[in-house]
Amino acid sequence: MSSATLPVRISSIDRRVALRWARDNGVYVALAVLLIYNIFFTPRFMTLENLNVQLVLATRVIVVALGMAMVIGTAGIDLSVGAVMALSGALLVQFSGLPAVLAIVLALLIGGLVGVLNGFLVGVVGIQPIVATLAFLFAGRSLAQLLLVGRNPSIQDQTILSIGSGKIFGISGLVIAAAVAVSLVALIMRRTTFGRQLLAVGDNARASFLSGVPVRRTLIGVYVLSGVLAAWAGVMDTASITSANALSSGLNYELFAITAVVVGGTPLSGGRVRVVGTVAAAILMQLLSSTLIFHSATDAISQMVTAVVIVVAVYIQRVRSQA
């Protein structure tokens, strides 16, 4: 090929890099803008207590969104997360006779088991992720309800409750719980073979297979992680409201999680997972909702604004990929 094409290519690469920066960091910019707005226009915003509250409100979505981000990284989706949250709360009640740590571990295990089922359907049988995880979305919440029939749903165990209301050095137990999840997922995505293989599977599953990547195992693993994280979020949620509520716990969380993932810059087509972006987006969406409420907008308006934000975020992603 003649060398004339090379300089042309480089300048288009520069432009692409610039656009990508804009797209990748848009969420941080938006978050910063919103923070600044609130500092100036929202009374009593900059108190430690308020900041803590804001952060706490976002913690459960953060945890679920992390799992969702990894699944989306494989070009899949996990619609069962909300149901798993509800189920995990119901399981805590079920196991309330056991020591707290054991109960929690069992709840996480069962979340992981749901993940094995989902992963098996997607990775081994070859069913589309929407359909495979849709089934548990139907069934899971109802299972949780059935488990709670005739039982006292309130949580008595102090250890569990402390996750919800306890504080260490002024930082809420929930924030710590979320931070643990974030660190874990960041570690997985940055430093493990599993994380790299996950991205490869999302980018080109066939090429991954031919390169020796254990595709099935990777897919099952990612859905297991999503299930465990969803269960963890369920434990957090149940601890914070001090009782298991199968109907409301985790309701619509799959949608919130997907929103956070998309707004945070992780493409639905797979191959890339932005951990920090997802966290930032979850906080952004929560802060947006709070800001609107602070300024007397109704819940309804907040929902509509969320909708617009999603569309804008995806549009920016789209424009970038066409450059």
């Binding site: 359907l121 359909v131 548990f136 979305l137 139907f138 069934a139 819940d299 309804a300 969320t306």
Partner: protein, 345 residues
């Protein structure tokens, strides 16, 4: 530069590392299997099984009365599933139908109280169609992923409905002897009016799908959008129209249910989109697009209704509905997958 072929953006094809078989020279066997899957035979078989078993266990199960109620109950999801089927055939999806359903109810009741039932019908179709137009434009022209766009609509329209009704503070209702209420409660030959409307819609859209170029374009887009474009088909127009239809049908369904309940509620129909998707998938339509039929969807819808009835007769908590539906969904889809895998050998 690897070209970015149009996808649903979701990668919902699912990783496919089952090596593709180039020339699967199969004769009559695969032809028959394709036909079977197309008409949702699995769903019909399951439906028949449930009816048979139910009739054996309880004498009233197959009574006309019971059948009538079952079908009436499932009619609203059924109408929603029509639009969903067509959208899914193009490889897309419409998650907003639940919210639009609620919107339809509210718009219909409010308009009826202002201007009568005829205006109510028109207003519902117009307003909900407009929502579909927004969806369709973002998807068909801006090229955004259907999953995300309709997800945003799901949020946004639900918010709108809450806003309009003051989050349930204002109740919209009609009197039970008004003309509007007849739509949902009236009967003809002892069958509820909504059932007839649903049948009419199914027949109409089945014909549209199978026999008009709009319908064939729909299939073509699902089979290969690039090919359809290269062939000069009106891809964009068709896509937009499909989302308009999907939303309009959801609105009509919401209107009919509001009529039956003689009031509109902003909190109903959460999760309807998923039930519709389940019915469509169980009925044999592929989520990847390009193949499917309303006959199959009808079977899927009826199957869901039959499951509900079965569980009611078992005197189990209605919560079991979802569990069983979920299990059915998985079973049917796994069977479909196994069949199609074997076919390609």
């Amino acid at each position: 530069m690897s070209a970015e072929i149009s996808t649903t953006g979701l990668g919902s094809e699912g990783p496919d590392y089952v090596p593709a078989n180039e020339s699967a020279h199969v004769g009559f066997g695969s032809h028959a299997l394709a036909l079977l899957r197309k008409s949702g035979v699995a769903a019909f078989v399951a439906l028949a099984l449930i009816v048979v078993i139910g009739s054996i266990l309880w004498p009233t199960f197959h009574s006309l009365d019971n059948m009538r109620n079952v079908v009436l109950g499932i009619t609203y999801i059924g109408i929603v599933a029509i639009g969903m089927t067509m959208v899914i055939i193009t490889g897309g999806i419409d998650l907003s139908v639940g919210s639009v359903f609620a919107l339809g109810g509210v718009v219909a009741v409010w308009t009826n109280n202002q201007a009568g039932p005829v205006a109510a019908v028109f207003a519902t179709i117009l307003v909900c169609g407009a929502v579909g137009l927004i969806n369709g434009t973002l998807i068909g022209i801006a090229g955004l992923a259907p999953f995300i766009v309709t997800l945003a609509s799901l949020f946004g329209i639900r918010g709108l409905v809450y806003q309009l009704t003051g989050a349930g503070a204002t109740t919209y209702s009609v009197s039970s002897d008004s003309a509007f209420a007849w739509l949902g409660n009236g009967t003809f030959l002892t069958f509820g009016i909504p059932i007839f409307i649903a049948i009419l819609l199914y027949v109409t859209f089945h014909l549209v799908l199978e026999r008009t170029s709009f319908g064939l374009t729909t299939f073509a887009i699902g089979g290969s959008e690039d090919a359809a474009t290269l062939m000069g088909l009106k891809v964009r127009r068709t896509k937009i129209l499909l989302y308009v239809i999907s939303a309009a049908l959801a609105g009509i369904a919401g209107m009919l249910q509001a009529s039956q309940l003689v009031s509109a509620s902003p909190i109903i129909a959460t999760g309807y989109e998923l039930q519709a998707i389940a019915a469509v998938v169980i009925g044999g339509t592929l989520l990847t697009g390009g193949a499917g039929s309303l006959v199959g969807t009808a079977a899927g819808v009826l199957l869901l209704g039959a499951i509900n009835a079965f569980i009611r007769y078992l005197q189990l908590d209605s919560t079991w509905n979802n569990v069983v539906s979920g299990a059915f969904l998985v079973t049917v889809v796994v069977v479909q997958r196994v069949l199609s895998y074997r076919r390609s050998d």
